[in-house]
Symmetry: C2
Subunit: 164 residues, 2 copies
């Protein structure tokens, strides 16, 4: 980051900080640990990780970057709760998808200028965007960063209780 | 928000969204519910609420706005873990402090322009800021918004498990 960071560069930095935290947290897990619940009867860490992967994957078309890489993740990690599907992607599949999706996002983010971020995201119509221009791509970035933090706060509970 | 929102206005909107979620979550709790743990042996909801209040209170001097309103919260909610102090502020004291601190922050935020947000925060020296101008007030706003989301993800576990 240069000596005079633009406002949106700080949003990117905040995203990167949370992604790095997630990489560290999820990346350190054994195949036994990813199957731990964050609290009794609640989501398992692998479900949260897959959920975050699916939501980040959906950012690719939402930000007008490209088609999705893992649309099949939605059935396991968005439309259905944990433990409802026998065919949930494996630890290794989630890890690979997580890395792929976030690498693809970051590659695109690095090329985007403020006029790119200020454009409407693809889930809002041109008509609605004309009424409320805050529904832009930068708002998606901030919202998804907070979504990531929210679930990291939960995922960490599964770990510390076992390791601390 | 007008028809052409500035980048930092979107950061403020993201803060406000999380504060509103917190108000709704914490505001709905009975005095019995605030004493629930988010997971067995983990922090109680009242501790998280007090912790967030203390961290937001510390934003007042950090952003150069004014002296703190509740510096005494640090002993109970930052320097010490939950259940270590007999004199923890009560449910009613935390609720009042939370509302006061966030109202004071928001009042100040509404008057701030981008040049205000781009200034260094008070925990970084002028010398260090000259080397890395990303350590500014807007970076504090984004970081504290994510911190709030992180703990909201935990607090909600105490509720849903009991109500869901």
């Amino acid at each position: 980051m240069g000596s005079d960071p633009s406002c949106f560069a700080l949003g990117l930095k905040a995203w990167k900080i949370q992604i790095d935290r997630a990489d560290k947290l999820f990346g350190s897990l054994s195949s036994e640990e990813v199957l731990r619940e964050v609290a009794p009867g609640r989501n398992r860490v692998l479900y949260l990780w897959g959920h975050l992967t699916a939501v980040h994957d959906a950012m690719l078309p939402l930000l007008g970057l490209r088609e999705r890489l893992h649309p099949e993740f939605d059935v396991a990690f968005i439309s259905n709760p944990d433990r409802s599907r026998a065919d949930m992607p494996s630890h290794e599949q989630v890890r690979r998808a997580w890395n792929l999706v976030n690498t693809e996002l970051w590659k695109a983010f690095e090329t985007m200028s403020w006029p790119d971020w200020a454009q409407r995201h693809s889930a809002v119509s041109e008509e609605d965007f004309a009424k409320d221009a805050s529904r832009n791509r930068f708002a998606v970035l901030l919202s998804r960063t907070n979504h990531l933090s929210y679930h990291l706060g939960q995922a960490v509970l599964a770990l510390e209780s076992a390791r601390g």
